[in-house]
């Protein structure tokens, strides 16, 4: 069992990085709990599928169109909901939930679960034997991409001027505003950046994991405990907690029952909160 736990901790942890990175970014910079985050996953899969099947486009043009559309939707949500109701958080959260619900139901109306969506983004078919555990090669690639992507994200936020301003805003938006940062614009950039990791994640895991119109909810349920453990928006915390949750999910899946994964993650989160009420990194800024 040990090799399986080790291998799947790495695989799941790396994938959870992609799942939670966007959610953590919005939590850290805007200090908003984006309950509409789940729709990015469903839209990534279904818009690509729609472009390919209904418009007869190839895979790459479909992905480009899908990304453009997702950025458009995210920007519209930012301008129309997040910015407008920034100070009315109860309206903001309810509106985000409603938008997620509208999108999921609309997708389900157009392509019901039985439609059988398949996106040909397989980079490497077959399985690979690691420590005696057979793993789909596609998942290994997805995990490696997750690691590379997170590294690039971190370097970008640590080394670039853009990252410096974003980190300053995540520490204190008011002071950043006084120092001349265009906080509203950077909030928008953070929203746009937040959709990239889940899109990459969906496209990579689409050939091996099930796709349905409500898949975003389950990804959101994974991103939430990771974000809580990682101090809600701290990228360092999110990276550590992705692997903690990956480990918890792996050990529960192999030792007990995969359906207890959510419960086990919740128990870990509550246990950590008892001793560290602000998550594992104690820092509420982006890094």
């Amino acid at each position: 069992m040990l090799p399986q736990v080790v291998v799947y901790t790495f695989i799941l942890g790396s994938l959870y990085l992609l799942v939670s990175l966007g959610f953590s970014l919005i939590s850290g910079v805007l200090r908003v709990f984006n309950l509409g985050y789940g729709i990015v996953f469903a839209l990534a899969a279904y818009l690509t599928w729609m472009c390919m099947r209904d418009f007869g486009l190839g895979l790459i043009p479909s992905i480009i169109l899908m990304v453009a559309f997702q950025l458009g939707i995210t920007y519209a949500m930012y301008r129309g909901i997040i910015l407008r109701y920034f100070e009315r958080e109860e309206i903001l959260l309810t509106a985000l939930i409603l938008v997620a619900n509208i999108v999921e139901q609309a997708v389900n109306y157009k392509y019901p679960i039985i439609a059988g969506v398949s996106i040909p983004t397989t980079l490497a078919p077959g399985t690979l034997d690691i420590l005696g555990v057979a793993i789909p090669k596609q998942l290994i690639i997805a995990a490696i991409v997750g690691l590379i992507f997170t590294t690039l994200f971190v370097i970008f936020f640590l080394k670039s001027k853009f990252g410096l301003i974003t980190r300053a805003i995540s520490q204190d938006p008011q002071s950043s505003l006084l120092m001349g940062a265009n906080v509203t614009r950077f909030f928008g950039y953070a929203c746009l950046l937040s959709v990239i990791p889940p899109i990459v994640c969906t496209l990579l895991v689409a050939p091996v994991w099930a796709i349905d119109p409500f898949m975003g909810s389950s990804f959101l349920m994974t991103a939430i405990p990771i974000s809580i453990l990682g101090s809600l928006g701290n990228l360092r915390g999110s990276i550590i907690s992705s692997y903690i949750i990956g480990f918890v999910h792996s050990i529960v899946s192999f030792a007990f029952n995969p359906r207890f994964m959510g419960l086990a993650a919740l128990v870990v989160v509550i246990a950590v909160l008892v001793f560290k009420p602000e998550g594992i990194t104690r820092s509420e800024s982006l890094w």
Partner: protein, 345 residues
């Protein structure tokens, strides 16, 4: 001895150390009285339309969940995203006891209260250790984990089909009479919830809850035992939601977690609170009627109503920033208006 006094447009009844007041001026009690009379007459007027009676009862069921939820929002200064956890707890407890041990509704009720009490006490420290978003996020996960649990132990909880054959709340011989009486029972429970919570929120405790809602650190510095108040508020309101689950189980005779535990139920509960009037207990009534009747009216559109319904609600959410209760409140302004805080501070 009982002493009755007339002072400042109030009748004051004193008995030993207790004091009861009744405001004589009609503007304080006229409108609530009209509303209660209308609600009491409604089931009689629509008794020949079982569909409308069911809708009315469904609206009351939502109120039974949302009224304690509103109290909890005020009293703990936190927004619970998983009130349906206790609906599931109450429903499954009542259902399992009924089908396995043959318990009737009156026998399952005390057990439901005890179980809800135990779980609420278990989770109540969350109101102390988790603030703002942390609390909302953790409570959001609770019902979803419970739902997973019902799938894992489908032998007990019967998975997606749920438990059926639960003892009915009443059986008066005719279906129509059952519908009317059940509607009255749900109305009675709703009114009890409303009056109880209204009384609490107008009492000294209500002032303390208001202080916690505004700024719990300031309240703490002023000597308010905020932990005790938050924990008791969380436990009491959760038990009331658990009783709503008990009612659902015995009213429908079936109970399935897949109906009450998922995210969609949270959306409805949140919307009723929000469209009604942002954690206003009377606003919840307006919100519940609006959401339930609107959803039913849109059903005739077919499958498309699943996404037309949230679109309409979204429009109302934007158009009425203080909810339906806000329209009434403009004329009957109250100074205190609780805040719904979620964001990390």
């Amino acid at each position: 001895m009982v002493r009755i006094e007339h002072k400042r447009a109030r009748i004051i009844i004193r008995f030993k150390n207790s004091k009861y007041e009744w405001t004589i001026e009609p503007r304080y009690w006229r409108n609530p009285l009209i509303a209660v009379v209308a609600l009491v007459l409604a089931p009689l007027l629509i008794r020949d339309y079982p569909n409308l009676l069911t809708l009315l009862t469904t609206a009351y069921i939502y109120m039974l969940i949302c009224i304690p939820q509103s109290w909890q929002t005020v009293g703990t200064g936190r927004l619970n995203f998983g009130p349906q956890f206790f609906v599931g707890l109450g429903g499954y407890t009542a259902g399992l006891l009924s089908i396995h041990y043959g318990f009737g509704p009156l026998q399952t009720l005390p057990v439901v209260i005890l179980i809800s009490l135990a779980f609420a006490a278990l989770f109540s420290p969350l109101t102390i250790i988790a603030g703002g978003l942390y609390f909302s996020l953790i409570t959001l996960l609770l019902p979803l984990v419970f739902l997973e649990f019902t799938y894992v132990y489908s032998g007990i909880f019967r998975g997606e089909t749920g438990i059926s054959g639960i003892a009915p709340l009443i059986n008066l011989g005719t279906i129509r009479l059952n519908y009317v009486v059940l509607c009255y029972i749900s109305l009675f429970m709703t009114l009890v919830y409303m009056l109880l919570i209204d009384k609490i929120l107008r009492s000294r405790w209500g002032v303390l809850y208001g202080a916690i809602n505004d700024n719990e650190n300031a309240a703490n510095m002023m000597g308010v035992n905020i932990n005790k108040l938050k924990v008791t508020c969380y436990i009491a309101s959760s038990v009331l939601v658990g009783i709503a689950g008990w009612f659902i189980a015995h009213y429908f005779g079936t109970f399935a977690g897949v109906t009450y535990l998922p995210f969609t139920m949270l959306i409805k509960v949140l919307l009723i609170s929000m469209l009604g009037g942002r954690a206003q207990i009377y606003g919840v009534a307006a919100g519940a009627f609006f959401v339930v009747f609107l959803e039913d009216a849109l059903r005739s559109l077919g499958a498309i109503h699943y996404w037309i319904f949230p679109i309409i609600l979204l429009v109302f959410l934007f158009a009425l920033p203080e909810g339906l209760w806000g329209i009434y409140r403009k004329h009957k302004y109250r100074e205190y208006y609780p805040t719904m805080r979620v964001r990390k501070r």
